[in-house]
Symmetry: C5
Subunit: 257 residues, 5 copies
């Protein structure tokens, strides 16, 4: 009945993935002036989100989604959980929201752990190395990468008799995380990611968002990871989404097909 | 085919977690006088709940939820199961209920067991120690802590060939519970909890509600517990919710985005 | 590839658990004369059911439910499956049905087996012992106990490599059933039950309905059973419901909150 | 990595199980002339189906269902898959369809295999034995038995480490099928069945439809089979339905409660 | 903690399976001129899709589906993921879309791997052999075969303690894939297929679409594969669909029953 050593973590900004379907029947049936007002309010809300007018800092982006009968993803990153709760709710005040339904969502917080950045935690929370500090800041206060495609999935580690991540000694977990990270790094320049913790906030333990200009790179990165023991033996996945980024000013073009 | 010794328990107040979505389309479309009456009736109901006007004793609180396409959580604690059945139903009589849909719910009862408070059960249900009595009363007749964030999840213990909680001897279970409780106590002052039994009342065996001013503490407490064998080997979780407390008088501000 | 001896069973009356949600929005919006007619037809239907006007024999009862977003349970016991099919359908003819939606249901038949009442089956279906006959009649032709609270859940026995009920010799199963029954009997006077078979009729193998004036007794009975090997190793449960009995004449009070 | 010998099969007619709920609210609200037209078109469609006016051969039957919030089952047997696709779609053209919603469905094809009728396949597809030919024809071109009650469930064989049907040698599978069939035959005269393959057509591997005048016989047959290793170790079941047959001309009586 | 060698892959065109239900109630109720415009726009959209007017290359086809309460499948193959995102969305702009609801969908990309075509990858992406090049082109840039029936299912490989595809050495996986392919080839001329990767794009790892003039061949091919270890031990399947191809010009006949 040995209790394993948990990783130490530091938390940064909170993230809301807000998935919506479009009510295309209502959209086709709406008179022009209703559509125009909806587009105007939708565009203004999304542009305000990208400009982070609603909070001290953060980032937001919009995506046209495929699959899962979902049309839109609004991804919001903000300093506090109360911030992301409110930005999600503010969208529902717009005339554009009438043409959407909530389809899915995910709540998580950007974090770093001492699996891979032990120095950070050992040195009394003082990061002297400037390169490390920049790396940690990117992890804790992420900006959404400028890429054509997005992928999202929630995941967790197994707690099974043969494959029990939470019963592995710290060193083995750290080694797994490092090997896992090597694969990610080998896709540097092709795929970038925002990973965030969600234990207690949503149904899985982490959310992963990948960004790439070629979606095949996303597939190949994840396929390669699947052969690494940290995944082949210890990972459990939720649903997988994929989509194409679009600018708030292209909302009208999006709605026109 | 040995039958294991069950814990002895004592039950206190009943708890209803009542999750709702807001029908924002209807809200935006409603004329002012309809909204005003809805807000008035909603505020009055929620304030009456907090004041426990409907029963001899108890507590209630309201939360703005994130994730799971759920907007509101009404948490009601009352002396009897009939009390919580009625308070849940009374909300549906208000004009505000028209702008909500039921999204989820959970029924449980506050309890203490002799896993950790054996003395209580040994001494013929007489608790002479004043400190112990206060502790037990807080467990059996809980008041909702005054904190900014709430977390809710249902859970149960596994009955699998390798990890069978219900086939462990009492002493081992008691040791697990004690080790598990140590982690909780190490977050004293940062996270407080209301735990309640639900075997026969709802689909899991317990409900857990955590309260904290910093949601990262909720995540870290639950992550740390995940490395304890009582969780890594014996726990199965349901869905996880998180939300922000709000005062009944802020219902109008909430609905305004 | 040994085939195990199945229990011999005798079947009695058929049981329909008919779960409904109330459409409170429609109810609040309905004019008084529509509500009055709905209440009148609802009350009349439910009173007719309790009086078993629609069949040769049986019993019916109504409950205000908590949890699972379900409001009402109509429990109907009748001599044939065609009887319960029709009584369920007849409700949908009433004006009250307009204010409800079907939420769940369960179909089963009261049965006795020779796990515990071997004598019954050995003696050429002749039961000479008057006490035994009364016991069997209560099992086969159950009347709904007069208690304040109801609990319902479907269950089945596992067919897994390590825990395979259907691969146990008859004697071991019989011993399990007897040990399981001992726990139930120890709650005599506090909790009574109606257990019915549903293999081929619905998704689980049995339905269990428990009745008690104190719901904590239902929880404690089921928790105690969970430590018995017949449950800890061999039982798989469906959803759990709990509710409060009410009289057809209190339908108006129920609908008024 | 040995590949096991699959059974040889011969396919006959295609089967569609088309499950519907009735929209009772719409039915109660409909004016008399709308109801009359709906009943007329519904009766005509169902009578045409029973008479197999839409294809070269086959059979159809209607059932009043219990449980699963489903009201009606239309079972259609036709020579080709295109036939059953069209007969399902033709119902939706009737005015009666407006008062129903699709609730579930299942697609399968009647088949015989050489697990139990090897001779058939050995002799160059020539069946000399007249009794065997009649048996095979009944299996391949089934007529719906004239019985009061129907049961339906989909099923499949397990592919697990300990219980892997698809890794058993042909002889063992054949022995299992034969033992399984013995139980079925012991209910001859009391329960008859239509079993059909659905690999690639629907989510399970077979559909089973049982017919009996006493539903207790259906339960007891399936319970007995559950103790046979072919089921206790190798079967996985989907949902179970039960219902009562009715004549197209009784559609009005059915809709009247 | 050995990391296994992943296959090298090359990606071709993207594929969207877009499943729809028909709203038959709305269709029956619609006035003639509304139906006519819907049919006209639906036919034009589908004919444009088949003619691939919306992208540089690709293919599209329409199917009348059975089962899963789904009526239509639109299968679109296009050079980029953005192409298939847009073609799916363009359908929702047509007046015909008003009579459909999205029921399911699947996103994947045609790919070849070096499990079976190692030469391709060894020779610096130069394919000298003309026959191999034609084979690879058919895999990467598939045209939808001209056959009466379609089958669709998503699948993935297991990552379990005993059956862990992702922990097998490359050679064993390659051998499995080759044995698996042998079965497929033995159905040459009877069943053709389009297989595509979907890791990171949708919930399973591959999508499979089979095409045949006799649906029994689809069933028998998949049944035979189920006895091959690559399936009996390592495959996990999603839902299975089956349907009949139809020409865009037959849309009116389809809607007329």
């Amino acid at each position: 009945m040995e209790r394993r050593t948990p990783p130490r973590t530091k938390e940064g900004w909170y993230i809301l993935h807000d998935f919506r379907t479009v009510d295309w029947d209502a959209w086709r049936a709406a008179p022009d002036h209703v559509r125009e007002r909806a587009l105007e309010e939708g565009r203004a809300f999304l542009a305000d989100c990208e400009a982070v007018d609603d909070a001290e800092d953060g980032d937001s982006a919009m995506f046209a989604m495929l699959g899962h009968e979902t049309d839109l993803l609004f991804m919001h990153i903000r300093p506090t959980m109360a911030d992301v709760e409110q930005v999600g709710r503010r969208f529902d005040q717009t005339a554009f929201a009438e043409f959407t339904e909530r389809a899915d969502s995910y709540v998580s917080v950007a974090e770093v752990s001492d699996y891979v950045t032990e120095a950070y935690f050992e040195e009394d929370e003082e990061v002297e190395n400037a390169g490390l500090k920049r790396y940690l800041d990117q992890k804790l206060y992420p900006q959404i990468p400028d890429a054509e495609y997005v992928n999202f999935y929630p995941m967790e580690k197994r707690r099974q008799p043969e494959f029990n991540w939470y019963d592995l000694p710290f060193d083995q977990r750290s080694e797994h995380m490092s090997s896992h990270g090597d694969i990610g790094r080998s896709y540097g320049g092709k795929v970038s990611q925002i990973t965030a913790g969600s234990i207690g906030f949503d149904d899985y333990e982490w959310s992963v968002s990948l960004f790439a200009n070629d979606p095949a790179n996303i597939k190949n990165l994840l396929a390669e990871m699947r052969f690494d023991p940290s995944t082949s033996k210890y990972a459990e996945f939720g649903r997988f989404y994929v989509g194409c980024r679009f600018d708030p000013h292209d909302l009208e073009a999006y709605m026109a097909g």
